[in-house]
Amino acid sequence: MRNHAPVTVRLVYLARLREAFASAGESLPVAAGREPTVASLLDELRSRGGAYAVELAPGRAIRVAVNHAMAGPSDAIRDGDEVAIFPPVTGG
């Protein structure tokens, strides 16, 4: 496995997730030694257990945006990215 430079992301939690995690966001250093993606980031958050495991469980409808653009599981995460996690939108 290639080594990767340390990656720190700015996480933003919105709506139901902000309340469930009792947090509007955090700065998170991503585990070294693997290429971080949206999916690996979600895995890392799930491994905390508690509300993170419940709200981010596979099959729960959640959306992820990286730097304000909708992102998919295989999208890469880079140092300094703003990664927002939120439920499906209900505006209008």
Partner: protein
């Protein structure tokens, strides 16, 4: 500005007048106003709180308006979406579109609303007699957006 996210109410008549002011090409203006209902999923609703994601919400709305202008033969388009605490009968959203003819104006207006419902980061929380609850996304909204 073609996209505004604000707490304040809006005057649809004044906004539409501004949108088409002095533009002799315009033969059709289509608009939509979404308002707060006092009932949802069999529960009475006394308060609606609208949350958004500052920065991304504006970009998402601008992208939707840009796509509408590309897909339809329209001159101007406007979206105003309110955030914060609203009550029953309050206005939530205004979409207005100007075009030469009604068909394109109706289509573009509906397209913007259908896309907004599924792509713009807004979340509704409603207060009912049983407490507060987040509104769930509807599959009907996905179907409406998929038509385009």
């Amino acid at each position: 500005m073609t996209v505004r996210v604000q707490q304040a109410d809006f005057d649809a008549g004044a906004e539409i007048a501004k949108l088409r002011a002095g533009d002799g090409r315009v033969g059709a203006v289509a608009s939509f106003i979404g308002t707060v209902r006092d009932v949802n999923d069999d529960a009475s609703v006394s308060r609606l709180t609208l949350e958004h994601y500052p920065g991304m919400t504006e970009k998402a709305l601008e992208a939707i308006v840009a796509e509408a202008k590309q897909r339809f033969d329209v001159f101007e388009a406007l979206v105003i979406h309110r955030v914060g605490e609203l009550g029953p009968t309050d206005q939530i959203v205004l979409v207005a579109v100007t075009s030469a003819h009604r068909g394109e104006a109706f289509d573009a207006c509906r397209f913007v609303m259908d896309y907004l419902k599924t792509r713009a980061p807004f979340w509704k929380k409603e207060r009912t007699p049983e407490g507060e609850r987040w509104v769930d996304a509807r599959t009907a909204d996905d179907a409406a957006a998929a038509r385009w």
